[in-house]
């Protein structure tokens, strides 16, 4: 290793995040990026598994840039409060693919902020309980909902240990071409699947995080920024006791 040995973890993660941002201009990766820039013409395979690492020490309390970016990317911000609904109800029921969660250690008082979204489990409980097969895991590890077969029963919302899914209660007037969504279906983070299939290398939340707290990549590629960071530093799966092998991991939780 040519890395200095006294490098602390925070500096390393900063560097890793920098690498993730720089891959676009690095010559080798750039070529690959161009090769993949066209829409996919072959089926996804399990040669890759997409995942994320979130460094909670960098995640700033009160910042919601990732949430806004997610809303914009997927058209969630185009939805308006239904007529007659109270602010309280709307706040409770409006679709959110990323939730801002604040944890407080009652013994020490230490507060941790983190974005909580679909954890893209290897063994997803939402898929287990879905009666129609609408909730499924793609070969590349993305857990998503096939809205064509979703009947809106919301079993998956009950089954998810992370409260990651939302239900659309009202007609959606405005939607984007890339993210079709409508009344009566459950939805959640799909790791910007439209970007995955069109050759993109980042997610909207990662691009938006000015603190560099989110590293996205292929967990099966030992050279990816996310794999390198995970190999070097302690990470946890939230509710690791459930043995779901989540694709989204956290540090310092």
């Amino acid at each position: 290793m040519s890395q200095p040995t006294n490098q602390n973890r925070r500096a390393f993660l900063a560097e890793v995040t920098g690498v993730a941002a720089a891959t676009v201009v690095a010559p080798g990766v750039f070529l690959q990026g161009v090769a993949n820039a066209a829409p996919r013409d072959s089926a996804v395979t399990d040669d890759v598994r997409y995942g994320m690492l979130i460094d909670t020490t960098k995640c700033a309390d009160g910042c919601s840039d990732c949430v806004s970016a997610c809303d914009k990317e997927n058209g969630l911000d185009l939805m308006e409060k239904p007529e007659g609904a109270s602010d309280e109800l709307w706040d409770m029921q409006r679709p959110r693919w990323i939730r801002q969660v604040k944890l407080r250690n009652n013994l020490t008082g230490r507060v941790t902020s983190l974005p909580m979204m679909c954890q893209h489990c290897e063994k997803p409980p939402c898929v287990d309980v879905c009666p129609t097969g609408a909730s499924f895991r793609r070969a590349d590890g993305i857990v998503m909902v096939d809205r064509h077969t979703c009947i809106g029963c919301r079993y998956c919302m009950m089954a998810c240990p992370y409260n990651a899914r939302s239900f659309i209660h009202e007609n959606v007037q405005m939607k984007t071409t890339a993210t079709p969504r409508g009344k009566g279906c459950v939805e959640s983070c799909n790791l910007c699947v439209q970007r995955r299939d069109n050759g993109g290398t980042t997610t909207a939340c990662q691009d938006a995080c000015k603190h560099g707290a989110i590293v996205f990549g292929d967990l099966k590629d030992p050279n990816s920024a996310v794999s390198q960071a995970m190999a070097k530093y302690p990470t946890v799966q939230i509710r690791g006791d459930l043995n779901l092998n989540t694709g989204v991991r956290y540090t310092d939780v």
Binding site: A38, P39, R40, D41, S42, A43, V44, E73, G75, F136, R138, A139, D140, M144, D146, R147, H148, N171, V172, Q173, K175, T176, T177, A178, P180, R181, G182, K183, C185, V193, Q194, R196, D197, N198
Partner: protein, 126 residues
């Protein structure tokens, strides 16, 4: 083409009934402003498209959602992109607005059109 003008006539007659009910109060699409208007045929011969377009789209939706294949001639986004018309002001008119490409036939045939409960009715660029 005779058939199409028949639809138009019927729709003109029906427009009075539908006025005010549509979700989007845009102007009416102008004939010839869609990309498809300038082409001889769609991705398959016209007769096939009229009879079986839903089979193409239905097959494609499963392939796209489950296998991530987006490079295709048969995507619904492609249909909308090509068939969306513009009104007199140059603004795109949703394909499911009364009398527009999708709704025109579906209303006439009495076949419900569920695609646009979720899918965008005009290209949004992303």
């Amino acid at each position: 083409m005779k058939c199409k003008s028949g639809f138009s006539l019927l729709l003109v007659l029906c427009l009075g009934l539908f006025a005010g009910q549509g979700t989007v109060q845009a102007g009416e699409g102008v004939e010839g402003t869609a990309r498809a208007d300038k082409l001889d045929a769609c991705v398959a011969p016209t007769a096939t498209m009229r009879r079986s377009h839903f089979e193409l789209i239905k097959h494609q939706r499963d392939v796209t959602v489950h296998q991530g294949i987006r490079k295709t001639d048969n995507s619904l986004a492609g249909c909308v992109d090509c068939h969306v018309r513009k009104d007199a002001q140059g603004k795109q008119v949703p394909v499911n607005a009364p009398g527009e490409f999708c709704a025109g036939c579906h209303e006439y045939a009495g076949a419900s059109l569920d695609c646009f409960t979720c899918h965008a009715t005009k290209p949004t660029g992303n």
